[in-house]
């Protein structure tokens, strides 16, 4: 019984330890996998931005482009043609690019692969203002007033030979590739794996969970921020911000500076998530994997461990019973025999059986010794009982008669025998009390 209890306790304890260690190990493994996946997405998106900026930076170098930026309509026909060729080349070599244009220093589009853009002003946009300051710029995602779809802008300064910023080379791109990159993460590291791309304000740029999340803030924006974004036509010309997702857990990923693990629940599914900051922008990519997915292995292990533990306990019980039976049975037999011996009730057959106990263990040896001793006692008792009968018979009657005669034929005895009657007869009566 004690061994069984110990076996059960050990089995439960070891199974629990094994499960928790397995679970912890699987969590660590999941973290590594979702981090690797998030890093992959982050790298791809950053490269995508870098490629566009690099293409624009190259496109801003040719003299024709500089002349067009400086002169606008005053630039030569050959400069216009050469510059347009450069812009077209950029457009064709970079997927998702919808428009590439040159802006003069006043913010007016003086050349663009989309003719309708020429002559429009873009001086209010940050892609113009930042580039004019000499910076390469990546905008946030906004609803394009041209396509009315989510777009983003890349821009670089155009410098003349005096290294003076004379204009801006700007490209507008769709989110097709970015969306494809995020969508490709769905289920990649495990069943139910999802991804969400957030901009610096927590607006959803792309995600694998809900189509209706595009451009919606994860949590309500501050009044000033919202007003600024509305003014910047982030959500197009609607003039209003879409309702927030009110997902505070997801919102914890906004603006992280380093990879950060957090727990996230969406539609009842608990995720282990990792927020990965992008390098080229202030965006964050969230890679998430359901607990059930990476814990399934731990649960399988637990199931197997429980089965193994139950089998082990069963074996331990059986072994314990067998051993106890092997040990206790001979002991019980010996104890019974000692009790019978104590009350002189142990039979010759029982003692003989004990004396012939097989096996070589200590209990068997003890049984054999006791059996032999018991046999000796029993046989001695039997012998003694038979001797009583013999002893009562062994009286030498002839000798008896002779010895009696020697005494009774003496003078003293003869006299005593005569007097004994007189002595008894003369005894005074007992005085009254």
């Amino acid at each position: 019984m004690l061994c069984t209890v110990i076996a059960i306790v050990l089995a439960v304890a070891l199974t629990a330890i094994g499960y928790f260690q397995a679970a912890a190990g699987l969590s660590e493994q999941a973290d590594r996998e979702i981090e690797a996946d998030a890093h992959l997405v982050e790298t791809t998106i950053d490269d995508w931005h870098q490629q566009r900026l690099a293409a624009l930076a190259l496109g801003a170098i040719p003299t024709a482009v500089v002349h067009v930026a400086e002169g606008g309509d005053g630039a030569s026909m050959s400069d216009h043609a050469e510059a347009l060729a450069v812009l077209s080349s950029i457009e064709q070599r970079n997927p998702d690019t919808e428009s590439v244009g040159v802006m003069d220093s006043r913010g007016t589009f003086v050349l663009d692969v989309v003719p309708g853009t020429v002559g429009t002003s873009g001086k209010q946009y940050d892609f113009f203002q930042q580039a004019m300051l000499g910076r390469e710029f990546i905008s946030g995602v906004t609803i394009s007033p041209i396509t009315h779809k989510p777009s983003l802008y890349h821009s670089v300064p155009i410098r003349n030979t005096a290294d003076t910023v004379v204009g801006v080379l700007r490209a507008r791109s769709s989110l097709t590739t970015l969306t494809q990159v995020v969508n490709a993460a769905a289920g990649r590291v495990g069943a139910g794996a999802d991804g969400v791309l957030l901009d610096a304000h927590g607006l959803v740029i792309a995600n694998t969970l809900e189509q209706g999340w595009l451009m919606r803030p994860t949590v309500a924006l501050g009044v000033a921020v919202e007003a600024s974004l509305i003014e910047g036509s982030v959500w197009g010309t609607s003039g209003t911000a879409p309702p927030a997702l009110a997902d505070t857990e997801l919102a914890s990923a906004i603006g992280v500076k380093r990879p950060t693990v957090f727990g996230w629940t969406h539609k009842g599914i608990a995720y282990r998530a990792l927020a990965m900051p992008l390098i080229q922008t202030d965006w964050t990519y969230v890679s998430a994997l359901p607990f059930d997915t990476f814990q399934a292995a731990a649960r399988d292990l637990l199931r197997l461990a429980i089965i193994a533990a139950l089998v082990g306990i069963g074996v331990a019980i059986a072994a314990g019973a067998l051993i106890a039976r092997r040990l206790s049975r001979p002991l019980l037999r010996l104890t019974r025999a000692t009790r019978l011996m104590e009350h002189s009730q142990l039979s010759n057959e029982q003692a003989t059986a004990l004396a012939e106990t097989p096996d070589n263990d200590e209990i068997a040896e003890l049984s054999r010794v006791f059996g032999r001793m018991a046999l000796e006692v029993i046989q001695r008792e039997v012998g003694l009982r038979s001797q009583v009968q013999v002893l009562t018979v062994l009286i030498d009657e002839a000798k008896r008669g002779k010895e009696v005669a020697e005494i009774t034929e003496s003078e003293y005895f003869q006299s005593l025998a005569q007097r004994s009657k007189e002595i008894r007869a003369r005894r005074p009566p007992k005085p009254a009390a």
Partner: protein, 251 residues
């Protein structure tokens, strides 16, 4: 009528003195006045069972036999030494334990007729109901006299080859002295024997009633004559056997 009972055995070591002392205690427990005379002058010992110190064993029977005192003066009231409240009385006339006096007896002998007178006087002087004579083992003039003056004789034997022959002689001699009551007591019967069977076989062998067959007792051995067994172990089977003997002797 007072009764004189001799307790005798052919050989020593049969438990004669122990039996005599226990019989005396049981008689006294029944309210009787009992006198015990230790006539085993050569090897006295019954005084130990009654808690009589060696330096208090005087005057003794020896003093009476040499005319130094009356028998009643040699009688010691040992009732209080029994250790339990007793409704009767026990008086002990011990034999001297002084080596010189024992040697004198062996050398000079004594008038055995005085023993007879002494027992009678003791009965009269102390108003005894029972006088128990603890005899010396074997057949000699003193033991023959004790048997001849006794109303009842208890011959003790052990289930031992050394006892059977001599007991047969004693039984025959006692019959010729016409002792009114003679019973055997088989003592120290080993536990492996059936006492009832032993009793029947001894009765058949001697054609004499066996009043009791007492089992060997480790408790008696352990008591080592430091007290009266029947008073110390009133519920012991050995005590029950002694009570049976007492009842038989009182018939």
């Amino acid at each position: 009528m007072s009764k004189i009972i001799s307790v005798h055995s052919f050989r020593g070591g049969t438990g004669k003195s122990n039996t005599t002392a226990n019989l005396a205690a049981l008689f006294a427990s029944a309210g009787l006045r009992v006198g015990v005379i230790d006539t085993d002058i050569q090897s006295p010992g019954i005084h130990v069972l009654f808690g009589l110190d060696a330096d208090k064993v005087e005057p003794s029977l020896n003093d009476y036999l040499w005319g130094k005192c009356s028998i009643a003066q040699a009688a010691h009231d040992v009732t209080a030494n029994l250790g339990v409240p007793i409704s009767g009385k026990v008086f002990l006339v011990p034999s001297s334990i002084r080596a010189g006096e024992i040697a004198r007896v062996l050398r000079e002998g004594y008038d055995v007729g005085l023993l007879n007178d002494g027992v009678n006087d003791l009965v009269t002087d102390l108003n005894l109901d029972i006088a128990l004579i603890d005899t010396h083992p074997g057949m000699n003039e003193e033991t023959l006299l004790s048997i001849s003056i006794s109303d009842a004789l208890v011959i003790i034997l052990r289930p031992d080859m050394q006892d059977y022959q001599g007991t047969a002689v004693t039984v025959d001699v006692a019959r010729k002295l016409e002792v009114p009551t003679m019973v055997l007591m088989v003592n120290k019967v080993p536990a492996v024997y059936n006492t009832a069977d032993v009793r029947a076989r001894v009765e058949d062998a001697y054609k004499c009633e066996v009043a009791a067959a007492l089992p060997h007792s480790d408790e008696l051995m352990a008591l080592a004559s430091s007290g009266i067994f029947a008073l110390r172990y009133p519920n012991n089977p050995l005590t029950a056997g002694l009570k049976t003997l007492v009842a038989r002797l009182l018939q």
